[in-house]
Symmetry: C3
Subunit: 357 residues, 3 copies
């Protein structure tokens, strides 16, 4: 399954929601074709290491914990949270030098556990996508979920970078009644990030937002913006406002985070975190909103993207010569940028990215 | 799964029973490794095109219809029934020249939808296997069914071309009590068709037919004939007669059509259509007869052929040096003929047959 | 699935438990990637042949018996128990010379059906692993079972050759409370067999055995020994004794036989046969003991080994540079020995081992 796909190694990926790695659990997840063990030290700090014992390669997640130590379930080797074997019950107890499991930098931020699988020296947390709206907002204005898709992560990025699909794929709650597609979105590049933005006047605004405006049936200004941050992490804003030009102060805005982490070449962990500047203290609304969006992704987006993957089979979309539309302005730039970043990494001969295979 | 198998491209294949593509349905079926969309225009005419949008390759069958137009479910491109994109909601609405989905000639005849995946200029409907008995017979003397097999289509052709298997595989209703196997069948070639025929005297005749003869327990003349028409479409007749040499006028004859359409190298859509010259106005008998044959194929032939495929793994039977018996006279000729036709097509550099891959 | 793996062909493998091939049954099992038909002649003698008709390769096990003759279910060819076609109902009944199915030497011994897939002339029954404790013991002191694993057979051999896993993987009934791992086992080679042995003093002995000693809570001498016999057949003894140095006469000893037969490169038939020198006439205990061990293998060993296979993917463990511990002394020797035997066989150009593919 690998082989045909090269991932960007020197990059932060979300390995899990903070809530997924809970208490004493030894959490196993495959990321970029590599099995990873995630757990929390007793002080709460998350750690990550390869989920295979150095001896016979049994996933350590099958084992048990002794404090912050992980005990392999097969032959009892013990590892500390840095992946170093600290105890062998075998023979005279001597620990072979090679008895080390590769560990990975992990940063917990904004409700996500970010992992770095590349060259450890380059792991700079300042390069993590800014998702601070999730931690700055009141708790009942924030929610998360995770879905696993049977599709390459770039197809899932495409889905977010070309938001015109909402008018065709989704119901009235989150579409624009055809307003979006005719627009030529503005695409800008900011260092390695790609931004795409649509602005339009709606009458009325998108249902999801309109009901929270002063005049739900009235005219409104609207916008969508998505910031893509390599390799496949996106911050999306959608807003509506009436009689003002400050969406954030006078309007209603959703601050969504769409984070795609490859599991394999053809499957993806999709993490979603959302905040908003309205109805920030209504737990019931928050839950309802979450279920609405989760259902939309799981029953409307996911089947389409999975079937798209099944139909094209390849992970190299451009090899099929897709027709390009104005709405592809963002995702084409993103695919090219990502390809360039990967090629740059490969040309620099980053050993980490290949050593793992 | 492809790769090892080349199909005959310039040939008519049954894509579906007429009844499968009904009303407003957007019908998806994989044929020769290609996803095909079949539907009927409002005037009832069937059309076929590749089931993948030119933009992002979502199967169009996921979309909806607007009259005879198909709307892609992902970004709203609209296609007419020739596969031409006729509307884009994106940007200024300009339609890229490449926004065309390959369409295929379809002919509806005798209860089948015949499709041509090869060079369109060569699509000559006069080359479709004659199944006119199905349309000429009273409706209660005709039935159809479709079964999907997990086996290469040539194994399924072999099964029909060597009918001696019926004495070993099937129950008393459709076997010959050992009469068939000792016969040396007559194999003849007629242009590119291969015919095989067995004649024998039975005492009594095959149960299925005997009960419809004047003297069910009496002696009868019997015959089997199969006409193979490339690539894998067969017309089979089986008859019994007493005191006459005209099966069709004085005897009882079944006119069966065994049509094999490759889905992939190792799976096949098997279409069956049957007519007869007796009990032509008995709907109840017709249903019973259909269920009897469908059950025989589904529970007696299918498991054997699927297991045969599983056991040999390859799609090149001859590479395993099978022992040949007199009863293989027909299927060996058929395999050689088909191989020659495919090689001829390849040597002529037919671009269509490879462009699709 | 083959390709990457070469098996030792000139060796005895267990094809089935004696009880699996019962009465009139035509028993199908894949061994070393080859489908085998096993059945018993009316005199009770087991026979084995390739489970594919020479004509169209249908598994003969789908057919029926006529005495010791097997009739193919597809076109009625009949084979005697040597694999020779003895009857064809086709044409003039002439039997093509090539109508022979490869047959294999089978020896029934000690409750197992041993098969030889290599060069028939080298099939020497004296080279079968000695499992005579199973036939010499009273019937209520003996039991067998078979489990199918999704793992390469060498991983399963490793599991038996490194018994230190029992302290980490299994419950108190069959572990040593940490006594085993610190020991340096004695590894010896005896012709092509590899023996490994652990001796220790226990206080008390392993639960499973302790309850059958005079003083269950008292001190005891204990030992484990495993004899490995190529390719993957093992005889394991575990014993405890008090106040004597003769385990077999004065102590309690289990005589277990762990027999691994590759199904494919990544799946294994695991046959287990056990005898003991205590409680030899207690049918109820025998059943309970059997269920206890079967449950331990099925729910404790099997998931670990299957997941280990899933994690490493390859069948070449050493290519992953596993850390080696003192407890690996036996299995490393075994892997090297087996590799040498296979290479020796390949270098001798044994045609049988490749002709089959």
């Amino acid at each position: 399954m690998t082989g045909e796909v090269r991932y960007l190694m020197n990059a932060w990926y979300v390995a899990a929601l903070s809530t997924e790695v809970d208490g004493e659990v030894l959490f196993r997840r495959k990321i970029l074709d590599i099995s990873i063990l995630l757990y929390r030290k007793h002080n709460g700090e998350p750690v990550a290491m390869r989920d295979r014992c150095a001896h016979r390669f049994l996933p350590l997640s099958m084992g048990k914990r002794e404090g912050d130590i992980v005990v392999c379930h097969y032959h009892g080797l013990k590892y500390d949270y840095t992946g170093k074997c600290v105890h062998s019950p075998h023979g005279d107890g001597r620990i072979p030098k090679a008895a080390v499991v590769q560990s990975f930098p992990v940063v917990e931020r904004d409700g996500f556990l970010w992992i770095w699988l590349g060259d450890t020296e380059k792991a700079d947390p300042s390069k993590i996508l800014d998702c601070s709206m999730l931690s700055k907002s009141p708790k009942d204005a924030v929610f998360y979920f995770a879905i696993r898709n049977n599709a390459n992560y770039e197809l899932m990025t495409d889905n977010i970078m070309d938001l015109t699909h909402i008018d065709h794929l989704h119901g009235p709650l989150i579409n624009t009644n055809g307003k979006l597609s005719p627009l030529i979105p503005e695409v800008t590049e900011e260092r390695d990030d790609i931004n795409i933005r649509w602005d339009w006047k709606a009458d009325p605004a998108m249902q999801l937002l309109a009901v929270h405006l002063e005049e739900p049936e009235g005219k409104a200004d609207q916008f969508f913006s998505v910031k893509w941050h390599a390799p496949s992490n996106m911050h999306l804003q959608v807003g509506a406002v009436q009689g003002s030009d400050d969406y954030h102060k006078d309007g209603v805005v959703l601050y969504d985070h769409h984070i795609m982490t490859p599991e394999t070449a053809k499957s993806t962990h999709y993490f979603f975190g959302s905040a908003r500047n309205y109805k920030q203290y209504d737990a019931e609304y928050n839950e309802m909103h979450k279920e609405g969006l989760r259902t939309a992704f799981a029953t409307e987006d996911k089947p389409v993207i999975d079937l798209q993957q099944e139909e094209i089979e390849t992970t190299d979309l451009f090899s099929l010569n897709p027709v390009l539309l104005s709405s592809d302005a963002g995702n084409v730039r993103v695919r090219r940028k990502l390809k360039a970043l990967i090629e740059e990494e490969v040309s620099q001969g980053d050993t980490n990215s290949t050593a793992m295979k």
